[in-house]
């Protein structure tokens, strides 16, 4: 092999190429099935298969394990891209990336998880999460269930009100107390593996939007090797990874859904404009307004994404100890989840009956229904109260 070939094989993927591929997949696969996935609340199997074929499930895995080694800004761009074609597929992909990030940020000191990352790349394994629990509301920092360790094996039972795409995943990261004697807020994450757990359905998933995420509830009973318990405590994983990463990829995919709605509104206005060249059609000013809202939303996402990337590359975990970054992350979620509804509502006004119909090429039904999920996936009221508490002890320096 020549030196040049060796260098080129080591070269990171061209991100513009990756993004082009994402949009091609979006147009050719995700968009085709998005309507069915939504109507039937079914798992977007073909779409996820296409993502696997493109090796996108290992996009965040470092290149030393065979992954693409992309960063959070790039992952956010991919989520935004996918969101333009199918909100449910984008949400599944985003949630998978959050779990991958937990392992990448906090599991690499373990030989077990290093091997797992290689397996994830080779087999394009899909990761899900069982973070919430029946009995604790939406409080992620409190668990009732606990992992029980005997020697080098563990057993674990959890009643999870939602496990998004749980039935279709290969591994699930389960949050629980460190031991039966541990207090509620002393938590760990355990990776349970397909074939090593039983899941009894507790509740269905028939919702207004994000219908294809199949977020049914389950009682999960699992066993495995203690190597499957992530070495870092969950409080660190949450503040350094799960919290910021989640809100960023969600904000990005919500921006994608909003962008899709704005694109439809633009296409509609353009169609009207052709009938009266030189005279702006009725929806044109509203289109300008909604385009401005979309820009605010997107800039908010990428501004925080760049801040988070800088924190990660600075390798200063103490930066996550203060309240400031947490408040700003929460603000991103609050802002994007309100803006997505604003944007899609405006596009409905622009497109009128064409947007209101389910069977028109300008239909905004799915986008509107997905949009309303944003404010309640962790309820905004809960997040606002957290920020209100933190603001009593934190003053931002501007």
């Amino acid at each position: 092999m020549s030196q040049l070939t060796a260098v080129m094989q080591d070269a990171p993927p061209d991100f513009d190429d990756v993004l082009r591929q994402v949009h091609a997949l979006g147009r050719d696969v995700l968009a085709i099935h998005a309507g069915d996935v939504d109507r039937d609340a079914r798992f977007p199997a073909a779409s996820i298969a296409a993502l696997k074929e493109a090796k996108l499930l290992s996009a965040y895995v470092p290149r030393e394990y065979g992954g693409m080694g992309l960063d959070i800004v790039q992952i956010a761009r991919i989520c935004e891209g996918l969101g333009q074609y199918c909100g449910s597929s984008a949400m599944i992909y985003a949630m998978h990336c959050i779990q991958v990030a937990c392992v990448v940020h906090h599991g690499q000191q373990s030989a077990y998880f290093r091997d797992y990352l290689r397996q994830l790349v080779d087999e394009q394994r899909l990761m899900a999460s069982a973070t919430t629990e029946i009995g604790t509301g939406g409080d992620l920092r409190s668990s009732i269930c606990a992992v029980e360790v005997q020697g080098d094996t563990f057993s674990l039972t959890k009643k999870a009100p939602v496990i998004s795409y749980g039935e279709y995943s290969d591994e699930i990261l389960v949050t629980c107390r460190r031991s039966p004697e541990a207090p509620a807020n002393e938590q760990v994450q355990v990776m349970i593996r397909r074939g090593e757990y039983e899941a009894v359905p507790l509740s269905n998933w028939d919702t207004l939007g994000f219908r294809g995420t199949c977020s049914s509830g389950f009682t999960v009973t699992a066993h495995g090797h203690t190597d499957q318990i992530l070495p870092t405590g969950f409080d660190e994983i949450l503040s350094q990874t799960m919290h910021p990463y989640s809100h960023l990829v969600w904000g990005a995919l919500w921006s994608g859904i909003a962008a899709d709605a704005v694109n439809r509104a633009r296409a509609f206005v353009r169609q009207e404009a052709r009938k009266t060249p030189g005279v702006l059609p009725p929806g044109a000013s509203r289109l300008a307004d909604v385009n401005q809202l979309l820009q605010e939303m997107r800039h908010n996402v990428y501004s925080l994404a760049r801040e988070y990337l800088a924190l990660l590359t600075s390798e200063c975990p103490e930066a996550f100890n203060g309240f400031g970054f947490s408040i700003r992350t929460n603000n991103l979620k609050l802002s994007c989840s309100k803006r997505i509804v604003d944007v899609v509502s405006e596009t409905m006004l622009i497109c009128g009956i064409s947007g209101y119909r389910n069977d028109s090429k300008f239909s905004l039904s799915r986008q509107l229904r997905d949009a309303y999920g944003a404010a309640i996936m962790v309820n905004n009221d809960r997040i606002s109260k957290l920020n209100a508490t933190m603001l009593l002890a934190h003053k931002e320096e501007y």
Partner: protein, 91 residues
């Protein structure tokens, strides 16, 4: 009320009041009845969100205001760490 002096002769604030406030507002699993002056509060289950309530109650009780620079983990690490800072702010 007992007031012991530190090396500079300034009376140290009463740590029982601090302990009582932590028990009332610290939301420690197990309550906090067995806290000593040196117990690691984070190890005892104090979360950063709970420190906000403790901070406000301490400010109210001692009629002080914690400066921004002192709102960090080191300040809330133990009853004794809090007592040192509060003594400074009261004096």
């Amino acid at each position: 009320m007992n007031a012991t002096s530190n090396s500079t002769g300034t009376p140290q604030v009463e740590t029982q009041a601090i302990r009582d406030i932590i028990i009332q507002h610290g939301r420690l699993p197990g309550g906090g009845a067995h806290l000593t002056d040196e117990t690691d509060l984070y190890g005892a289950g104090l979360t950063s969100l709970a420190t906000v309530g403790v901070m406000l109650a301490l400010e109210e009780h001692f009629d002080i205001e914690f400066p921004e620079s002192k709102l960090n983990r080191a300040t809330f690490r133990s009853v004794s760490a809090l007592a040192t800072l509060i003594t400074e702010l009261v004096g």
